[in-house]
């Protein structure tokens, strides 16, 4: 779990991405303590902050303010957080990061499948939240610009998406077609969590969504080919009970 000092060390990193007018974030959260802490840390990071206490208020604010990102607490007093996500997704692709308690994996999956971009488990450190927000914001900018960069690289792993070459520490790695498809799907969403459902649908097609063990077998195979120690993955991370995430940095 990331502690407060970590968040402090990330400050400079986030500062580079700051534009003249910082990105606007709507925080939909009913707990005043959490809002207070988010207000303090996000404004210092250069975000313009709009607060909403209820889901209804949050939807109105989102429609009027045109935010760059939404932080949504799943446990709101007036309406289900899932409902907020669905209603937002009816008209906007704005990135949504969900706040949820640990142990409520089903809620997280539901939120992600409904269109949320990522999640943070309470209690969380501000560094963790900023990292998620950064990834989510980057994906929207990438999506709006031209297609993904031709070469993806993180650590010793580099994937040439045009030539379909995968290298680990300069060594060519041979992947089967499904392994490659799985890897490129994860690369498209690098840094973001992908639920089992999303991966199965994207890699195997919509009819295989209930064959979660396929996914596990292929991620295990991928790890053996890409990771130094498959039991301690550097790139292909597991989010227990939710899905997988490809490390982006």
């Amino acid at each position: 779990m990331t502690n407060v000092p970590d968040a402090a060390s990330n400050t400079t990193h986030a500062g580079e991405a700051r534009t003249e007018v910082g990105p606007m974030v709507i925080v939909i959260e009913d707990e005043p303590q959490i809002r207070r802490f988010l207000r303090a840390s996000l404004t210092t990071q250069g975000f313009r902050l709009v607060e909403a206490v209820t889901g209804e208020d949050g939807l109105v604010q989102a429609a009027t303010r045109q935010p760059d990102i939404v932080i949504l607490d799943l446990g709101l007093p007036d309406m289900d957080g899932l409902e907020v996500i669905r209603r937002l997704r009816e008209w906007t692709a704005v990135p949504i990061v969900v706040l949820s308690a640990r142990g409520q994996e089903r809620d997280k999956i539901a939120a992600l499948d409904a269109g949320a971009d990522d999640y943070v488990s309470k209690p969380f450190g501000v560094g963790e939240l900023l990292a998620r927000m950064r990834v989510a914001l980057r994906h929207t900018t990438v999506g709006t610009k031209d297609a993904a960069e031709p070469v993806f690289s993180v650590g010793d792993l580099s994937v040439d998406l045009v030539r379909r070459h995968v290298q680990v520490a300069g060594q060519q790695v041979h992947l089967t077609p499904i392994e490659y498809r799985l890897l490129t799907t994860l690369i498209r969403h690098a840094g973001k969590v992908m639920t089992h459902n999303q991966l199965l649908t994207e890699v195997w097609g919509p009819n295989q969504a209930d064959q979660a063990h396929y996914l596990r077998v292929y991620t295990a195979q991928l790890r053996r080919k890409l990771e130094v120690d498959p039991a301690r993955p550097r790139y292909l991370l597991t989010e227990p009970g939710v899905g997988y995430r490809l490390a982006a940095e």
Binding site: M1, T2, N3, V4, P5, R102, G103, E105, P123, G125, T176, P177, I178, Q211, A212, H213, Y214, R216, V217, T219, A220, R223, D229, P230, A231, R232, P233, L237, T238, E239, P240, G241
Partner: protein, 894 residues
């Protein structure tokens, strides 16, 4: 006690009695001297009056005998349909008790109280049906002829010469709240008889001849009048007691009646009953079990039991004494119980024994002292059916042949000795022979041996030889003495043997009972008590046994050994009845004798706690009174043991509750401590930052901030653990199993732990061919995180932690090992207990982590345990069973 004030104990008893009485229905008996006096008529007339008063009234069973006047009273009354019962191809109709109980009227009419129900009915006798009606609070009107009353049975037989077979225990009539005598002078009755108003005409002539003689009618009428007067007298006494009238408070007298195995004993019992009633005395009926009891025929023993049962029905207390002398035992008991009168029958022993030794009556009179002895005539009335003649023990010819053989041998021996010894020594040889015969055989054989010995002695050794003639008359004295001595010796020898046999039998009974009670005393738990009891009962009675105990809802459920009795709905009904009424029923009893098995209530101090069912393959087993008595003793012993077991279980449950309560309070204290410590640290650190933040240097500020972060994380972990624990305990936790590569879950756990223990070296050893395993990934990840946290916490930070897994016997074994100081031997099991903190030096946990691990692993059907590594440090291992078929993942071929 002040004059005129009743004894408070008596009053208390009376209050209890009245309370029971208030709930019971009231019984009114219309009593008549003979049939035809108009009892049914009177009953129906009274019923019509009640009906007019608006009483909810039903005619349960009324026989009008086709009399027009009586039948005319029936219309307008609700009549219950009768129950048809098929018996030997004939359809009989009987009173439908169950229908009556369901209908549950305020008042019901049930004619002919002494009626015997058809086989297949619930009770053998109608009065038992009536008792059940009264028990549930239904009032009953019924009719009775005086001749059916048990205690008057002999008298009626003597007067009329007709044996009445349907009898009613006197106690039933005594329970009647009201007795109304329906009286008709004999002349009028005979007149009605002639007019054909009593029986249907063709039967009338026969009835008149055999029964309705004027003399009979007068005598019976007197009996009925006297009995009614008695019951009025009882009511009067109750009235006097209730109103503290102390005029004629009778001295409590007690009499004892001695019964034997003969058929006349029943008469003694009935006479004693009448006697006791007239004296208002308590009465005891005693049977003395002498060694001779053992050689009584089955029929005789059954008669003893029947006699005692009859005595109980008539209201006597019964005792069975044992000893070698009837009169001694009886007198001893009489003295102990302060008995003032002894009733005994004139026994029908053979005359010579009477003359020689005197009868029991004579002995009693001699030894009675102050006590009065009443001797009842033992003469048999010609009309009383003589009970089956004594069944002798099957006696073959062998004992007699042996007697002849032994006498022949003696003769041979004496013949050899004859030239050298005196005649008196030869007599000794014969006496030895008689003793030998007596010690092994029947009394008859030893008598034969005695006589043969004298004859052989005379024939071979008394001059003139080889003839029975005797030259010297003085030899007659020799013969006589020799015969008497032989007979006496053989008598004593036989008697000693019987004593030994009886003692042996009693010894076996006692030993069996002792074995049972000893085993029951040492057996904890109701289930094992039942198991032990059925084993013993099965062994001793060679019968199948079942125990029925009420479950939580009060439904009787069977417990017992294999091969127990199959219980269909009929048998269950019988056992239900036994349980509710706390009385035996089923085969061999008067209630529901159609059942396949015999059912005894398990009577403990709190009342009936269950039912013992027993069924023997041998139809005659369990019929002898000794066996029944012994069975009852066994049932009582078992009942007490079961009750003890139930009490122990209750005590145990109470103890568990106390223990739970204790645990709960220890939880509270532990949790409140664990919650308060980080809260105090956070509050302290944040307040110092707030209040003195400006003056603190950067290093200190950072330290305080780190404290806040660490303590908050600790608090978060604790709350998470508490939530998981309560989820486990409430049973809300369900493992959602899916097939996972273990490597993935270990990886996730390492990632989570790695953040908290950044500089800790954690080694993993996983074989490449480790199969997928069905688990709930979130739960197992949590287990691994807890174990890794634990390992990190209890071992020095420079040492490494190892995680390994391997496949073994259809399961995956995962282990997390550290290089710390290990666990105390006694902690190895206890560390998994909730809130248990081991005896390890720097423990700071709440004692939940490992308890949660155990809960999660058990939810997977696995096992978790701890051990110390030989090279130092602790290792925690758990198994994950590989159940089900792993998913088939097709290899890629595209």
């Amino acid at each position: 006690m002040p004059e005129g004030r009743p004894d408070p104990d008596v009053l208390l008893e009376q209050v209890k009695e009245e309370e029971a009485h208030a709930r019971r229905g009231r019984l009114k008996v219309f009593l008549g001297a003979v049939a035809g006096v108009g009892k049914t008529y009177a009953m129906l007339q009274t019923a019509r009056e009640r009906k007019a008063e608006g009483v909810d009234l039903v005619v349960g069973w009324v026989d009008t005998h086709g009399r027009a006047e009586t039948e005319a009273l029936l219309p307008g009354l609700e009549v219950l349909p009768r129950r048809p019962i098929e018996y030997r191809g004939q359809v009989l109709t009987e009173f439908d008790l169950d229908l009556a109980l369901t209908r549950r009227p305020t008042l019901i009419l049930v004619d002919e109280l002494a009626h015997t129900n058809a086989p297949g009915s619930r009770h053998a006798k109608r009065w038992q049906d009536v008792m059940e009606l009264l028990d549930v609070g239904i009032h009953v009107y019924t009719t009775l002829n005086i001749q059916h009353l048990e205690s008057l049975n002999d008298v009626v037989t003597q007067i009329t010469g007709v044996v009445v077979r349907e009898t009613l225990p006197d106690s039933v009539l005594e329970q009647a709240d009201e007795v109304e005598l329906i009286d008709l002078p004999p002349e009028d009755l005979l007149q009605r008889l002639k007019e054909g108003k009593v029986y249907v005409p063709e039967q009338a002539a026969e009835a008149v001849r055999s029964f309705f003689r004027k003399g009979n009618l007068i005598a019976l009428r007197e009996l009925a009048l006297r009995r009614t007067a008695d019951s009025v007298d009882v009511q009067m006494r109750h009235y006097m007691r209730d109103h503290a009238i102390r005029k004629t408070w009778p001295v409590t007298e007690r009499l004892i009646a001695c019964v034997g195995s003969g058929p006349h004993s029943v008469r003694v019992v009935r006479a004693a009953k009448r006697f006791a009633d007239s004296l208002r005395a308590a009465w005891i009926v005693a049977y003395v079990e002498t060694p001779a009891h053992a050689r009584l025929s089955e029929a005789d023993r059954a008669r003893v039991a029947d006699t005692l049962r009859l005595a109980e029905q008539l209201g006597a207390e019964t005792v069975t004494l044992s000893g070698s002398h009837v009169s001694d035992e009886l007198l001893r008991h009489a003295r102990e119980r302060n008995v003032s009168k002894i009733v005994v029958g004139k026994p029908e022993h053979r005359r010579w024994r009477h003359r020689l030794f005197g009868t029991i009556a004579d002995e009693l009179i001699r030894g009675a002292g102050e006590t009065d002895v009443y001797v009842i005539s033992g003469e048999e009335s010609p009309n009383v059916p003589y009970a089956a003649p004594r069944l002798r023990r099957a006696v073959g010819w062998q004992p007699y042949a042996r007697a002849v053989g032994i006498v022949t041998l003696c003769t041979g021996l004496a013949w050899i000795m004859f030239p050298y010894f005196e005649l008196s020594n030869l007599i000794m040889v014969y006496l030895l022979g008689v003793v030998l015969v007596a010690s092994r055989s029947e009394p008859g054989a030893s008598i034969l041996a005695s006589i043969l010995s004298v004859a052989a002695f005379d024939f071979f050794f008394v001059p003139p030889f080889l003839t029975f003639a005797v030259s010297d008359t003085q030899y007659f004295v020799t013969f006589a003495v020799m015969l008497v001595v032989a007979l006496v010796i053989s008598g004593f020898t036989v008697r000693i043997r019987w004593l030994a046999e009886a003692a042996g039998q009693r010894e076996r009974r006692t030993a069996a009972l002792y074995a049972l009670s000893r085993e029951l005393a040492g057996t904890p738990g109701v289930a094992s008590i039942l198991e032990a009891a059925s084993r013993h009962i099965t062994d001793v009675f060679r019968a199948r046994v079942v125990f029925l105990l009420p479950d939580g809802a009060g439904v009787l459920t069977a417990h017992g050994s294999p091969g127990r009795i199959e219980l269909d709905s009929t048998e269950l009904g019988v056992s239900r009845w036994v349980f509710e009424h706390n009385q035996p029923a089923g085969r061999g009893t008067g209630t529901l004798p159609g059942a396949k098995a015999l059912y005894l209530p398990l009577a403990a101090s709190r009342g009936s706690i269950g039912v013992l069912g027993i069924r023997s393959n041998d139809p005659n087993a369990l019929e002898t009174p000794e066996q029944l008595h012994q069975l009852e003793t066994f049932a009582n012993q078992t009942a007490l043991a079961i009750e003890r077991g139930l009490l122990a279980e209750e005590a145990h449950a109470a103890q568990v509750r106390v223990e739970t309560e204790r645990l709960r309070s220890s939880l509270l204290s532990s949790v409140s401590h664990d919650l308060r410590t980080p809260l105090a640290a956070i509050t302290g650190a944040s307040s110092s930052l707030l209040e003195t933040g400006d003056r603190l240097d950067t290093g200190t500020r950072r330290e305080l901030l780190e404290t806040i972060g660490d303590e908050a994380n600790r608090l978060s972990r604790l709350v998470h653990n508490l939530l998981e624990m309560s989820r486990l305990e409430s049973g809300a936790l369900k493992a959602h199993m899916e097939w996972y590569p273990l490597e993935e879950i270990i990886g996730a756990a390492l990632a989570r732990v790695g953040k908290a223990h950044k500089d800790r070296q954690i080694l993993t050893r996983l074989p490449d061919d480790l199969p997928m395993v069905p688990v709930d990934d979130v739960l197992i990840e949590q287990v691994l995180v807890n174990l890794l946290d634990n390992a990190a916490k209890y071992s020095p930070s420079h040492t490494s932690i190892e995680v390994a897994a391997r496949r073994e016997d259809g399961a995956i074994i995962v282990e997390v090992a550290d290089r710390g100081s290990g666990l105390h031997a006694e902690d190895l099991e206890r560390v998994f207990e909730k809130f248990y903190r081991g005896k390890r030096p720097y423990g700071r946990g709440a004692g939940l982590g490992l308890a949660i691990c155990r809960g999660f692993i058990e939810a997977h059907g696995g096992r978790i345990w701890a051990a110390n590594r030989p090279e130092g440090g602790a290792v925690f291992r758990f198994t994950l069973p590989l159940t089900g078929t792993p998913p088939d993942v097709r290899s890629e071929d595209d």
